[in-house]
C-alpha cells in the first residue's frame, strides 16, 4: 500500500509539472501574437502615455516569464480574466456551459461502455464467426466517418426526414439523443475493438486453461477469469478517453448548437476573444492531466504488475 501512495504522490507532482509546461507553452503562443490586450481593446485615439500607464497597471511592461507568473497566480485565485467581446468573466462563461458538456460526454462514455463491453465479449468468444467479422467491419467503418458528418447525417434522418427529434439547441431530453449518439458511436467502435482484443489475449493465458481443466463451466470462466482481467485496460481507457471525448464534442456541440463549451470556444476563436480561448484550453488541459493521472492510478490499483513496472519511474 505504501508503494501505491508513493506512486500517486509522484504522479501528482508530474501532473502539476505537465500543467505548468502546457500553460507556459500556451502562454508563449499567445505572446507571439501581434499586439497585446491593451491594443486590442483601446482605440488608436488613446494617447500613448495612457497606454503605457495601462500596460504598467496590467503588468504588460514586465518580461514574459513574470507575466506568466502573474497569469498563473491570478488563475490560482480563480481569476481567468474577462471576455474581450462580452465583458463577462471567463470563469462565469465557462461554468455556465461546462455542465452541459460534461452531461453529454459523461452520458456518451456510459453508453459506449454499456453497449461495447458485452458486444466485445461476444465477438471474441465467437472469433471468426460472421458476427465477429461484422463487428470488426463496423469498427473500421466508424473510424472512417467524420464524427461531425455522422451528426449531420443523424440530423437529416431523424430531424428532416422522420421529423421525430429536434436538430439543434437544447429543449429537454429529446435534444440530448442525437448529439449523444453522435459522440458515443465512433468511440464505441474503439472500446469494442479493445475489449475484443483484450479478451482474446486473456483467453490464451494459462490460468484460463486451468480453470477449464478444473471443470468450471464456460460462462463462469468467461466472467470470473476472462472478463475480470480483460477489463483492466478497458477501464484505464475510460479515463484516457474522457479528454478525447471532450475534445471531439467541441465540434459536435457546434453542429447541434448545444449550449456547452464547444460553441463558446468556436465563437471565441472566430471573434479573436483570446482570454476566453485561453481559459477554456486551460480548463481542458487540467481535465486531461487529471484524467490521465486517474487512469494511471486505476491501472496500478487493478494490476500489481503495472505498479512494479512503473515503480520509481515517472513521466
Amino acid at each position: 500500500m505504501n508503494d501505491m501512495i508513493e506512486y500517486i504522490v509522484k504522479r501528482l507532482f508530474a501532473g502539476i509539472f505537465v500543467i505548468l509546461a502546457v500553460t507556459a507553452l500556451l502562454f508563449g503562443i499567445m505572446q507571439l501574437m501581434p499586439g497585446d490586450a491593451i491594443q486590442l481593446v483601446s482605440s488608436p485615439r488613446v494617447p500613448a502615455e495612457r497606454i503605457a500607464e495601462l500596460r504598467a497597471i496590467w503588468g504588460l511592461d514586465k518580461p514574459v516569464y513574470i507575466q506568466y507568473f502573474y497569469w498563473i497566480s491570478r488563475i490560482m485565485q480563480g481569476d481567468f480574466g474577462t471576455s474581450i467581446v462580452s465583458g463577462q468573466k471567463v470563469l462565469t462563461l465557462v461554468m455556465e456551459r461546462l455542465p452541459y458538456t460534461l452531461m453529454l460526454t459523461g452520458g456518451a462514455l456510459l453508453v459506449q461502455y454499456i453497449v461495447a463491453i458485452p458486444l466485445g465479449l461476444i465477438a471474441a468468444n465467437r472469433k471468426n464467426s460472421f458476427l465477429d467479422h461484422s463487428i470488426v467491419a463496423f469498427t473500421i467503418g466508424f473510424w472512417s466517418i467524420p464524427p461531425f458528418w455522422l451528426g449531420i447525417l443523424l440530423m437529416i434522418i431523424f430531424g428532416v426526414w422522420l421529423k421525430v427529434l429536434p436538430i439543434s439547441g437544447y429543449s429537454g431530453f429529446k435534444s440530448v439523443i442525437l448529439p449523444l449518439m453522435t459522440i458515443s458511436l465512433p468511440g464505441l467502435a474503439g472500446v469494442l475493438r479493445l475489449t475484443r482484443s483484450d479478451v482474446l489475449e486473456v483467453l490464451r493465458e494459462k490460468h484460463v486453461e486451468t480453470a477449464y481443466a478444473k471443470g468450471m463451466n464456460k460462462s463462469s470462466v468467461l466472467v470470473r477469469h476472462v472478463l475480470r482481467n480483460a477489463l483492466i485496460p478497458v477501464s484505464v481507457m475510460f479515463f484516457l478517453n474522457l479528454p478525447w471525448t471532450i475534445g471531439g464534442s467541441v465540434v459536435i456541440e457546434t453542429v447541434f448548437a448545444w449550449p456547452g463549451i464547444g460553441p463558446l470556444l468556436w465563437k471565441s476563436i472566430t471573434s479573436q476573444d483570446f482570454p476566453v480561448v485561453q481559459g477554456i484550453v486551460f480548463i481542458i488541459a487540467i481535465l486531461t492531466v487529471v484524467s490521465n493521472i486517474l487512469g494511471d492510478i486505476v491501472a496500478a490499483f487493478l494490476d500489481p504488475r503495472v505498479r512494479q513496472e512503473l515503480k520509481g519511474e515517472v513521466i
Binding site: I29, M33, P146, L153, W244, G247, I269, Q272, I284
Partner: protein, 278 residues
C-alpha cells in the same frame, strides 16, 4: 522475403487491394478533375439554386446554383494535397526526433520524450484549435496546426526501433570505420525503420484528412469559394431542411477517401510490419 513473393502477398491481401483501388480512383479523380467534373467548382447560376439531384446536376445544386458533383470532385484535390503535406511534415519532424532520441539517448532523449508527452497532454483537436486561433484561419495554418500536434507517434515508434538497432554489431562496425553519426543514422538505421515509417504515414493520412475537414467545417480552414469538403458541409447545414443533398454527398466523399486510406494502411501494416498492431 524476395520481391516476387512480396508482390504476391500484396495481391493476395484483400484489405490492401480494396484500399489500393480506392486510392487509385481518388488520385485519378484529383488529377483529371477538370475533365471529369461537368462544371467548374465556382460557376454560379442563381436560377438553378437548391435543385435536388437530377439528370443535369447529379448531386443537386447549392444556394448559389453551383453543381455539388463538380465541387465534390474538385474537393478531392484539396483533401489529397492537405493530407500529403501534413503527413510529410509530421514524418520529417517525428522521424528525425525519434532517430536522434533513440541514437543519442541521455538528456536529449529525455527532452524529446518530454515534448512528445506534452503534445499528448491535450486532445489534438483542442491544441490545433489553439494554434489556428493564434495564426488566424486559413488552409495553410490548418496544415501547420495539424502537423504540429500529430508527429509524436512517429517519434515513439522510431525511437524504440533505433534503440534496438544501434546496439547491433554492424553499427559498431560502421563506427569503427569512422562513419559519422549523421551517416550512421541516415544510411544504416533509417533503411531498417523505413517499413514502419511507410505504414505509419499511410495510417496518418486518413487522420489528417479527417482533422482538416473538421477544421474546414468550423470555417477555420479553406475560405469560400474553395470546394473544401468540410467547408461545403458547413455551408450546407444552413439549408439542411430544403436541400439535405448538400450535406450528404461531400460527407460520402470524405468517408470513401478515408476508408480507402484506412484499408490501404491496415493492409500495408499486416504485410510489412505486423508488430505495429498495438
Amino acid at each position: 522475403m524476395n520481391k516476387s513473393n512480396l508482390f504476391k502477398e500484396f495481391i493476395r491481401n484483400k484489405t490492401f487491394m480494396l484500399g489500393f483501388v480506392i486510392f487509385l480512383s481518388i488520385i485519378l479523380l484529383a488529377a483529371f478533375a477538370d475533365n471529369i467534373a461537368p462544371f467548374s467548382y465556382d460557376e454560379m447560376n442563381v436560377q438553378n439554386k437548391l435543385l435536388s439531384p437530377n439528370e443535369k446536376y447529379r448531386f443537386g445544386t447549392d444556394q448559389y446554383g453551383r453543381d455539388i458533383l463538380s465541387r465534390v470532385i474538385h474537393g478531392s484535390r484539396i483533401a489529397l494535397k492537405v493530407g500529403l503535406i501534413v503527413v510529410a511534415i509530421e514524418t520529417v519532424i517525428g522521424v528525425s526526433l525519434g532517430l536522434v532520441a533513440g541514437y543519442y539517448g541521455g538528456k536529449l532523449e529525455r527532452m524529446v520524450l518530454f515534448f512528445t508527452d506534452l503534445t499528448w497532454s491535450l486532445p489534438p483537436i483542442i491544441m490545433a484549435l489553439a494554434i489556428v486561433t493564434m495564426l488566424g484561419p486559413s488552409l495553410n495554418n490548418v496544415i501547420i496546426a495539424i502537423a504540429v500536434v500529430s508527429w509524436a507517434q512517429f517519434t515513439r515508434v522510431v525511437r524504440v526501433k533505433t534503440q534496438a538497432i544501434k546496439s547491433l554489431p554492424y553499427i559498431e562496425a560502421a563506427r569503427a570505420f569512422g562513419e559519422n553519426d549523421l551517416n550512421i543514422m541516415a544510411r544504416y538505421i533509417l533503411p531498417n525503420v523505413l517499413s514502419s515509417i511507410i505504414v505509419l504515414s499511410t495510417l496518418a493520412l486518413p487522420t489528417a484528412i479527417l482533422s482538416t475537414t473538421s477544421l474546414g467545417f468550423l470555417g477555420l480552414g479553406s475560405q469560400p469559394p474553395d470546394p473544401d469538403w468540410g467547408l461545403i458541409l458547413k455551408e450546407g447545414i444552413a439549408f439542411i431542411n430544403q436541400a439535405p443533398w448538400i450535406s450528404i454527398f461531400p460527407g460520402l466523399a470524405i468517408v470513401y477517401t478515408v476508408l480507402g486510406f484506412n484499408l490501404l494502411g491496415e493492409g500495408l501494416r499486416d504485410i510489412m510490419d505486423p508488430r505495429l498492431k498495438a
